[in-house]
Amino acid sequence: MVTTATNKLYLYFKYLGYTLLAISALCFLTTITGGNTINPVVWGMSGIGLLILGGLIAIVCSRLPKHVAHQNNGLWQKDLTSRGISAWALGILLTGFYILLYWFPETLQGLIVALEPFSQWLRNKPSDQWFLYGTFYTLAVMLMGVYALLKYRNNRYHLIRTCSVIFFQLGFAFILPGLLLAFNQPEFYFSYFWPLKYDYLFPSTVGYLIDNGQALGVFMVFWGAVLSFLATPVLTYFYGKRWYCSWVCGCGGLAETAGDPYRHLSDKSKKAWQWEVAIIYPILGFVIITTLLLWINSWSGGSLFGDLSGGFSRSYGFFIGSIFSGVVGVGFYPIMGNRVWCRFGCPMAAYLGILQKHFSRFRITTNGGQCISCGNCSTYCEMGIDVRWYAQQGEPIIRSSCVGCGICAHVCPRGVLKLENGPREGRYHGTTLIEREAVTILS
């Protein structure tokens, strides 16, 4: 039994955690502004140490005393998680960080220098702004991964899934690329594929990998192509989009961990769905067409399209890569929810979504007539899917945007939802225990 005395203890430790986090923030501030007067490595690394320690203490002491059904208590009542002033402040802080990182990296020089020894040790290369970003990104996934593990501690699906995203972020998106650099190989992320990493199948990248990586480079190109065109359709056929979006992908990994406290902020309106469809497929189309044009150009050996590759990388990279996936996608977590990029922008999500909708065994089954229309599922769907709409009619949920995070099933107080893979035949059929009606939501 959780007595009041232990609850008090948890509370004191939580404040201790917050205090350490505040000191950590001061350390970072000093590192950035201190210039030559301070030792950035000492200050920066102290900041990171305190961030880890304070973060862990605060997370454990806020999650553990609450039993599982109480983990979402007050989310819509607390300022920080209901678009209050502190949420805006956090949003501006995150957005500001992205702006500095992308366009004014010199302002973050202190932090970059702070990571120099670490970068040399891991990658045998000098630290730069992207190493800084990668380090903080991975830290966020790991620390908030602990948060997710505690929050969903009674649910094995979430425990395994959370460990999986932490593993892929830490191993495949941080350590491995670092080691590759250390061994003078091309930096390569084995967990990202075309069309998300659109340039992995551009002729220029392919050429670079093969020239610079020799056998390993050839393997990388082969790996990328196989994953994009063979593994993706096959895995999506068996398991749905989720194998990638909520088990492997780094963007998804951040959304499922650091973004978890903000999942209820996704927009559920009909308008949002119309926007989603209107944006995400054109982006996929754009990536496909550009890739094709570049290959035609490269095969024809001509200067048919001139500097298209560079032009593309610059404009797409700027608008989609930086602004959309970074600034809006992560910076706006506290305002627009945690999957804005995945829902409205990601070409990989569009590709996987088409496969999921039409060529997959995946569906979310609704359990007969058990739904009480409470709305927890829709509220906590980070992709803004109105899950309740289907559940209260006893229909399976088969939506291209569903990333299979499984949170709808977890928060449902009546256990109505189950993510599962079954035969494609009769996949759309619902229960006989509720009468159904025809309404087109996407009209």
Partner: protein, 458 residues
Amino acid sequence: MQPDQHVVVIGNGIAGITLAQRLRARSDCRITIVSSESALHISRPALMYVYMGHMRQQDITPYPDWYWKEKKIELVHDLVLSIDFDQKALKLQNGAFLAYDQLVLATGSSAVYYNWPGQHLKGVQALISLQDLELMQQQTIGIKQAVIVGGGLIGIEMAEMLQSKGVEVTMLVREKLYWSTNLPEQEAKLVTQHILNCGIDLCLQDEVTEIVGDEKGNVRAVKTKSGVELPCQFTGIATGVKPNIAFLKNTALEIDKGIMVNHFFETSIPDVFAIGDCAQFKDPAPGEPALEQLWYTGRQHGEALSAILTGTRNAYHRGPWFNSAKFLNIEYQTYGFVPRHWDDLIYSSLYWEHPVKTKAIRLFYERESGILKGINLLGIRFRHDLCHHWLQEKYTIHQVMEQLPAVNFDTEFFQRYEPELLKQYYQQYPDRQEPARQHTWWKLRHRLSLFSEKSDNN
């Protein structure tokens, strides 16, 4: 039904809105829903989640405004003061009259109080409506202790709500164990223990005698039969519900506890029907209740009446019972009928319980025939469609055991406990053979046609 007919529904709860929706699917008649609690239909079982901050009020509104416009279902947000059955018109609080051709009463229910001294003090309330929720939000700001009177499903919800705000909660339960009016002893014990483990205090086998106030008229304590005085700043009343029929008293309409209906939901007055919590069956089938006060039954009433109104005059037949709830962290599902105690000569059951006492399965059946009568589940989910099929088709426990592996509905990667139950079964019936082939849910679903072809999913 003719397009010029006007069907008026009083009450936008699950019964009233299901009727309106299904009627619209079948007919072009004019449909108006009058309701006083909220402009749009809300999910009553979700009220607790608004209090706990999991959702906002707009999140528990299952259908947005545009939906009703698209469906051409008119909504009137007003209270019906009285009904003139001769003139076929409703008198609304705003002074207007509303004429109907067919009237459907779906007025739901309100809380039962047992005339305890002090029940009108400030801080004493029930939780049924949106207004109750708002009141509870105001009355519980900054309080330290609360007492819940009544150990039912709404009682445990109120306890959980208060606990989420850090309030110390004591539940007063008349019986020996929590909800033992409905659960067999083993299940009731398990749930009772879980409630205690979660830090909610239970005063078992005790009742309220008086609610005590302070000089300002606020509740200060609850006195019980056993002589204890429990200090509290809030008292939740959860001792049951009764149909909302006060405004129908002294009219020609036949009422008892609820509005009397036959199995076509026809009341004593032509063109007037009643469904949902407020309806009372004149001649319930043996073993079935006269009042069905559930979300699910409300929906089924609405579905059945819409068919009746449009000319398919089939008597309402509920089919196998089912219900579900949640006791803090433990989900509860029940299918068919499991009584709280039974004659061991006539009935038997297979019961399995997890050693840490958070999960249990009971399959209850007739000893002689082996026919399955009901299923109780705690912390385990079964597939409704398959359980329904078993009960509907009067499967024996032996047939059920053959299909048991297909019935689980727990999340992927969860530990499966059906083997434990099977082990017990083969111990009890050593001459039974394990089936050569395991049935998967998908095969059974296909073979038994447990799906509806229709799909509007787009």
